[in-house]
Symmetry: C2
Subunit: 369 residues, 2 copies
C-alpha cells in the first residue's frame, strides 16, 4: 500500500490512485468468503465503474456483474455477458435498451411493480429476447421493493405469465443494517423470516426462486450467518473501501485501495492546512458511522481532521503540537464514501506491485440512464 511519498513528485494533483495488489486482495477475500459459504458473488460495479476492475472480479469467480444503470451494462458488454440491473429500470426508455442488450447477454432486472413486469415483457417481445426477473423485496430500508409476501406473489405470477420473462427469484438490499448488527442478529433474522414467508407462499403456488440475491459491503462477511435462503451477494464498496468502512470497524486503512493524492495549497490560516480537494474531488458525503470525524482520513496525519470541504478546497485541522505540513507537501486522503468519489474522476492511476503507474479510465462514469 502506498503513501504520498511513494508516488512520483511530478504526478499532477488531485488524482485518484488505486493500489492494484490491495484491490486484488480485497477481491480475493470476498471471493474466498463466498466459496466457503456456497454463495455466488455478483459484485456491484457502481464503486469502480471500471472495465479493468470488473474483469478482475470475474476472473476471481464472480458469476456476473451488478449495475444500477443500463448504460453501465452497455459499457461493459464487450467483456461481460451476465448483468443484474439491481434497479427498477423498466420505464419506456430503459426497458427497450435492456431487452436489446438481452439479445446478446444474460440480463436480469429487479422489479417492484406490475407495470414494470408488463413494460419489460413488452420490450422483450419486441426484441425477441428473454429477461430474467428478480422480485425486489423491501426488507427494512424502505426505498424500493414489495411490501408483503402477497405482493411478491402477484408479481411472481405476472412474471410467470409472460413467456418473454423468466422468474429467477428475489432481490433485497439490507441498507438499514449497520456493520455492528453482527452482534445484534435481529435485523438479519427478520430478513430471513420475510424471505421464508415469501418462498413458502411461492412454493404453495408452484413457483420457486433459483436466485435469492442480497448483501452489501457492511453485511458482507455476515451474509451466511443469519439467512439460510441467500444464494448470492452483491457488495460493491469492498473492492476499494473508504473511511466509512474504517470508522465502522470493518477494515483497516491498509485495505483502502483507492486514495486521492492531494497537494497542500495554503497554510495561511493558523491551525489548519488546505489541500486541493473538495466536494468535486472527494464527494460531500458525511461519515455515516461517525459524522464527527469529518470528511475522510489523512493517511500521513491520522490525528488530523478534514473539517470542511467546499468545492475545490479541503480544510484540515491539525491537532495541537503536530508539525504542520509545509506548502506543496503532498498528502494521501481516504474519502468517506469511495463510490461517489470515484464517480468524480475521469480516470485513475493503477499502481502495480512494482509501483508502476498506468492511467485507467473510469469507463462507465457519466452513464446516467
Amino acid at each position: 500500500m502506498f503513501i504520498a511519498a511513494d508516488l512520483p513528485p511530478d504526478l499532477a494533483t488531485p488524482c485518484l490512485v488505486v493500489d492494484g495488489p490491495t484491490v486484488e486482495r480485497n477481491i480475493a477475500a470476498a471471493a474466498a468468503y463466498c466459496r466457503r459459504n456456497q454463495l455466488a458473488l455478483r459484485p456491484h460495479i457502481k464503486t469502480h465503474k471500471s472495465r479493468r476492475v470488473a474483469s478482475l472480479q470475474r476472473a476471481a469467480g464472480a458469476v456476473g456483474l451488478t449495475v444500477a444503470k443500463v448504460g453501465e451494462a452497455e459499457c461493459l458488454r464487450n467483456e461481460h455477458d451476465d448483468f443484474l440491473i439491481a434497479y427498477p429500470a423498466a420505464d419506456p426508455i430503459r426497458a427497450p435498451r435492456l431487452a436489446h442488450l438481452a439479445r446478446a447477454c444474460t440480463v436480469r432486472v429487479a422489479v417492484d411493480s406490475l407495470a414494470a413486469v408488463d413494460s419489460l415483457a413488452a420490450a422483450a417481445a419486441d426484441s425477441g429476447s428473454t429477461l430474467g426477473i428478480l422480485v425486489d423485496v423491501d426488507v427494512g430500508f424502505h426505498r424500493t421493493g414489495v411490501q408483503s409476501p402477497q405482493e411478491s406473489l402477484e408479481l411472481a405470477r405476472a412474471v410467470a405469465g409472460h413467456r418473454e420473462l423468466r422468474l429467477d427469484g428475489l432481490m433485497y438490499y439490507p441498507g438499514h443494517i449497520s456493520p455492528r448488527s453482527a452482534d445484534h442478529p435481529q435485523p438479519f433474522l427478520r430478513i430471513a423470516d420475510t424471505l421464508g414467508d415469501i418462498l413458502d407462499l411461492w412454493s404453495a403456488h408452484g413457483l420457486s426462486a433459483t436466485i435469492v440475491s442480497g448483501g452489501s459491503t457492511p453485511t458482507l462477511l455476515e451474509s451466511h450467518r443469519h439467512n439460510p435462503f441467500l444464494t448470492e451477494i452483491r457488495p460493491g464498496t469492498y473492492v476499494y473501501n473508504g473511511a466509512n468502512e474504517i470508522r465502522a470497524g470493518l477494515v483497516a486503512a491498509a485495505d483502502c485501495a483507492a486514495r486521492v493524492l492531494a497537494t497542500v495549497v495554503s497554510t495561511a490560516v493558523p491551525g489548519k492546512c488546505v489541500v486541493d480537494c473538495g466536494t468535486k474531488t472527494l464527494a460531500a458525503d458525511p461519515c455515516g458511522p461517525a459524522p464527527a470525524t469529518g470528511f475522510g482520513l489523512v493517511v500521513e496525519l491520522p490525528e488530523a481532521k478534514i473539517v470542511r470541504l467546499t468545492e475545490e478546497h479541503g480544510e484540515i485541522e491539525l491537532p495541537r503540537g503536530t508539525d504542520p505540513p509545509r506548502l506543496y507537501d503532498r498528502l494521501t486522503l481516504i474519502p468517506n464514501h469511495i463510490c461517489p468519489c470515484v464517480n468524480l474522476h475521469n480516470a485513475f492511476w493503477w499502481r502495480d506491485a512494482s509501483g508502476r503507474l498506468t492511467s485507467s479510465p473510469v469507463d462507465a462514469r457519466g452513464q446516467l440512464v
Copy 2:
C-alpha cells in the same frame, strides 16, 4: 421556464436541462447591477463549466472569467483571454502551466504566501510571461488568505520586487456572509475596515491596488452597499441558481435555470415515490440555509420533500392528501447546490426560447488540476 410536461417524453432521464432565456435573464440582471454600481463583473465559471455559457457572460460585459482550476482556463482559452485563478495555484505543477497560459492570455492568480509569489515568479521567468497577482485576504471565512495588513504588505512588496509579476490588487471571498446579512451590515463593514487598513498600509509604502475583487452569489446584490473599495465581483451560482438560493430568499424557482428531469421508477413503498436521481446526479449537498427542507425542490410538487438520496435513488415524501405521482411520471428537480450537480453531468440540454433542445457539453468538467 419549463416543467417536465414541456419536455419531450422520449428524453432519457436523468438529464440536466438548462433554460436559455432564464440564463440570459440572470446574466443580464447581474451585468446591469454591476453597470449601475460601477463594478466590474468577473463571473466564476465553476457553476457551468461551459464554453457556451461563458461566452454569453463575456458578451454581456464580463471583464474576464474566474476559474478555480488551471485546466478550466486552458479549456476556455480558445474563446477567452482574461482569467483570474481565484485559487492559490502556485505549486510546482500548476505554476508552469499558468505561466505558459500567460504567454497568450491575461492571467491573474490569487496568492496567500511568499512561497507562491516566488514559485509564480520563477515560472513566469521561465516562460517569458507576466502574471498578475492579487493578494488573497481572509475576511472571515478562514479558509485561505493572509491574516493581517502586515502580511498583505509583505506579499505585495515581494510581488513588486519581481519583474515577471504585476501587483494588481486584492482578492477576498465573503463565504461566511449569509444572504440575510443585508439587514445586518456588520460583516460587510468589517470587510471594509480590513480592506481600508490594507490599502492605507500599501499606500504608505507606495503600493496600490487597481483591482479589489470580492463577491459571491449570496452577497451579489449587496456588493455596493458596504464596501467602498470594491472594484469587481466574482459570483458563479447566479447564472443557474438552485434550491439553496430559493430557501435563502434570494431568488424564485423561476430563476433556477438548470433543472434535472427525473422519472419516477418506484412507488412501492407507501407515502413516497422514488426518482432516478441520487447523489451521483443531484450531488449530496444538504440545503445550507434550511437543512430540514431536504435535498432540493420538486417543481411539480412544491410541498413534497426529497427526504433521502442514495447514489442512484431519490426518495420523495408526499404530504398527506397529495395525489402521488404515477410510475414513469416525470418530475423536474431543482438541486440544493447547482454547482456540484452540474459537475456530475457530461452534457446538458440547452432549451431555447422556442423550446428546442440542443445538447451542450460541460466542457471543463473533470479538469481537476
